[in-house]
Amino acid sequence: MNQASKSFALHGLVAALLVLLYWVLPEYHSGNLARILVLAIYAMGYNLLFGYTGLLSLGHALFFAAGMYGLSLSLHWLDVSVVPAMLIAIAASIAISVCIGYLALRTTGVAFMIVTLMFAQAGYLTALYLGEYTRGDEGIVLKQADRVLFNIDLTQPDTRYFFALLIFTLCFFAIAYLVNSGFGRALVAIRENEERARMLGYNVQRLKLLAIITSGTLSGLSGACYALLFGYAGATFASVQYSIFPLLWVLLGGAGTTIGPLLGCAFMFYLIDLSSQFTTAYMLIAGICLVLLTLFAPHGLAGVIRKRFLPWLP
């Protein structure tokens, strides 16, 4: 079996496993898993930029929020149905990632981190400033009647889970295809040695911009799905915390692996979930685990698997 078919089999297996889990897991956990799947799309988007292209953004909450607000504001204020609202959300994410990409790519390294962070903060403050429409921190609660797609009520646990799984699987396979394509390989080349990539004739700036747009759009898609499935959009999701989360998920799960974002997301979610049952200082436990993992598995969970067992892991 060659590498491409192994990779396809692995991704199919993960998707099949996730289908089965719905019937195996108690409802509480399948609810959690739906949330994890949606957030994993966000992490996958982030991973494309950070793990594959080597650009560390600290402002991805802006893209997540663009999708989230794009959908929620349209549903809430414009009286449109889910499909056009979703299209507006995606258009908003694309537009914002084009702008941010164009501006932020004038910088590199630490300056890139700071610039993306600043833009995201500006986005967060804008969401608060426009409280009349966004309801700021309090947020918008979407009506159950608005969250219906082709007569399917997405507020039910089973439809919600499978909608999340469907979108996740599509993105999961799309990313697997993308990172194995010429485009994905060129991004890795930029990550590994930007000057060499340029002197091989790659248009590095253009490729980086495309990476930001793809990454930002996936993040926006995740934000839109999150609002749609869980019925809430608030300014917290635009805050710096939500820019740091995908970085942590990707670092924990394994940067530059297709499966890493899902693993990292699930790990972190349950780390917080379980530790908060014992203590209110759950972030301390989460922090210690993060430090230990970074010390002993600097390439994340999937990174360890790739190194020890499956060197072909995409």
Binding site: S181, R185, A189, E192, R198, M199, L200, G201, N203
Partner: protein, 237 residues
């Protein structure tokens, strides 16, 4: 036919004129060496040619087109290949993927053609046994070879080699000389080189730079007997 030429090409860094008013012509099919003492402006000159740095004034023509305003990647895409003075490969990727990255940029997403190009290139440079090795784990000499392989895979019109034999052992240099002769059948070669044995053995024609100026041009024999060159470069009076 002239493949590459410059007209009054200059580059200054503050008060230092690294390259001044260089008029240079490289006919197609030649192996041209650029030599000169340390700090003569050789590396700056080739960086101006391939677009890594912008000229202060003057023009660069490649393949009958004015490329002075074009960024490096566009010049490379027109058929230049460049190897770095300090080995620069994708050190965490396999040898095959390194060469594939070079081939893919030229060929596009046609997988089979890319694979064929990669295999023939690896064969040509005798790297096919190492195809699956991680580039950064190989010996220095093999990394230099890989760097050249990445150029070959692009099938360039012009191949710029910046100090390719730096740090190579004697026997490796001999093999390199043969390789250059072989590559010259496919591409015009511009060689920046310190090692006089390599220059005298390979070059059809030599340009000598000193203090950013063209000091002399001629065949290896002419350059060897040129008094000004001897004074500036070899240090013999």
């Amino acid at each position: 036919m002239t493949l590459l030429s410059t007209v009054n090409l200059s580059k200054s860094f503050a008060a230092l004129n690294a390259v001044s008013n260089v008029n240079f012509e490289l006919p197609e099919g030649q192996i041209r060496a650029i030599i000169g003492p340390n700090g003569a402006g050789k590396s700056t000159f080739v960086s101006l040619l391939c677009g890594r740095i912008r000229a202060s004034s003057g023009q660069v023509f490649f393949n009958q087109q004015d490329v002075t305003a074009l960024p490096a990647h566009e010049r490379i895409a027109m058929g230049m290949a460049y190897t770095f003075q300090i080995t620069s490969v994708f050190s965490t990727l396999s040898v095959r993927e390194n060469v594939a990255l070079a081939a893919r940029r030229v060929i596009g997403s046609h997988r089979q053609q890319v694979n064929e190009r990669v295999e023939t290139t690896l064969e040509q440079l005798n790297l096919h046994n190492k195809a699956n090795d991680i580039a950064g784990d190989m010996s220095y000499g093999h990394q230099r070879l890989l760097e050249i392989a990445m150029g070959v895979a692009q099938q360039p019109k012009l191949f710029i080699l910046d100090e390719p034999t730096q740090g190579l052992a004697e026997d490796e240099i001999e093999a390199f000389n043969k390789l250059i002769k072989q590559l010259a059948k496919q591409a015009t070669i511009l060689l920046i080189e310190h090692n006089m044995n390599v220059v005298m053995a390979c070059a059809d024609y030599i340009t000598v730079l000193d203090m950013g100026l063209v000091l002399a041009e001629g065949t290896p024999a002419e350059i060897r007997n040129n008094d000004a060159v001897q004074a500036a470069y070899l240090g013999t009076q």
